[in-house]
Symmetry: C2
Subunit: 276 residues, 2 copies
């Protein structure tokens, strides 16, 4: 006897859930997209749905690009060089094979973890450069536990990582003065921004931690100092869950939260450029 | 005009390639599996084939478990706590949703990157413990570039990471005296093993770097000191590509290379236990 309404196979459940996630992302892009330059899909949230999740991810990438948004694949990958090259194929490249070439995700940028050192980063950066894409390396993340690892040593590890970002990025600086090798710097530690900006004058800073994690945009002006496009403020839960604090329709609340964040980021960038 | 033999769509090419990868892995499991305790699929090599790649990965996991092998998902994930929890769902857990629960990969263990600190590792370790699975944290990787980041500081970063592995693993020590929180320690730096073993007496060491990367099993005895099962020697290219150096049928060459490696690992573990 099959119970009505509970007989879906795991494959069917995964497929239905992936479609729901895809629609949720499409709604978020519709609502918040007009205030954004990029979307940052969190790969973990798609991976946990298996193959249907990766199909949904590919569709979300396509939907974002269709409305003119950049796509920043947030997977924080990092591995030995031969494997890093495979991650690069997955994110911004393609994979040749006996049946033809398999296209990758086609992201405009991605995040990467530099713990394995320079040789592990070169295949990622080189593939990004070939694709006209960018790579953001973790320097100082936004979570409380980051301090125990990233702030230890003399100089602190985050300064060593910043030097690697700067050195690897020097040969990828465009006419704007900005490099395609950027840095993830948590908005939860604005006191570190000026020093990190000194160490990485050409890097675009990706600044997570605003909103749900407690950071504020107003404190981020130093990140924008070299150029109004020298920093990207990212927010996720504070936009898609804006309705839970603000009330009203989720889409309207998300659109409003994104618009406020855009205005705040713009102000911060203008404060910075007036100071220069 | 369509050229004969080149009209496959990207989706068809990805699907054909993923099936070929799956068959390759099945052949490797058939050939080398009898000498192994686990397979270590490298997630990057499946991800680069998109959704069909993830289906192939799920099938490889099932094939390995069907012949009694453990599965160690090698993805080196690491992210802020909320995202780490999603990676844990993908690797060893499941994802509840409105349509039912989506099962994860069902791995027996996985690798993780500790750069983001203890709070980023706790969701992974806790999910692994709930699933009866293990987690291997990067401590000192096998690539040449590792030194620049992992060996800097006083004490060197790899010793700090080793202390984190030990502390997080203490509450997960089983009756064998080994913990489900292990450490990735490259076989390319055997001179570090004794010190790292002192710092992590309960951790199972996952030892990559033998074979293609230049490490030898004979130098790894210190890793086995606490228990004959206290270390796992991993090899990939030196097994699946064994035919290119040894000649003969690829499957026979792989089986022979795996059998040699098993014997060498067994000898190393016996040397260690005689020394204790």
């Amino acid at each position: 006897m099959v119970e009505t309404g509970s007989a879906d196979s795991p494959e069917e459940v995964a497929a239905l859930t992936a479609v729901a996630v895809e629609r949720h992302c499409a709604a978020a892009i519709d609502a918040a997209g007009p205030s954004c330059v990029a979307v940052k899909p969190q790969l973990a949230c798609f991976e946990r749905l298996g193959a249907p999740g990766w199909s949904a991810l590919a569709n979300v990438v396509a939907a974002a690009r269709a409305v003119g948004l950049l796509v920043l694949a947030d997977g924080k990958r990092g591995d030995v060089p031969v494997t890093a090259a495979a991650y690069a194929q997955a994110l911004v490249g393609e994979t040749p094979g006996p049946f033809g070439t398999v296209p990758g995700l086609g992201a405009d940028a991605f995040t990467a973890n530099p713990l394995l050192g320079r040789d592990s980063l070169e295949p990622l950066i080189s593939a990004a450069a070939s694709a006209g894409a960018g790579c953001f390396l973790l320097v100082r993340t936004s979570n409380p536990g980051a301090a125990e690892v990233q702030d230890t040593g003399t100089p602190p590890l985050h300064e060593r990582l910043a030097s690697i970002v700067d050195e690897l990025g020097r040969s990828h600086v465009g006419s704007s003065g900005l490099s395609s090798v950027g840095a993830v710097v948590g908005a939860t530690r604005p006191d570190l921004l000026a020093r990190l900006r000194d160490l990485m004058p050409h890097a675009i800073f990706l600044l997570p931690g605003v909103g749900a994690q407690g950071g504020t945009v107003e404190s981020l002006a130093a990140a924008f100092a070299p150029h109004p496009a020298a920093a990207l403020v990212t927010a996720s839960r504070s936009i898609v869950n804006a309705w839970s604090e603000r009330g009203g329709e989720p889409a309207v609340a998300a659109a409003y939260a994104a618009s406020e964040l855009r205005d705040a980021a713009w102000s911060a960038s203008q404060v910075a450029s007036r100071a220069v």
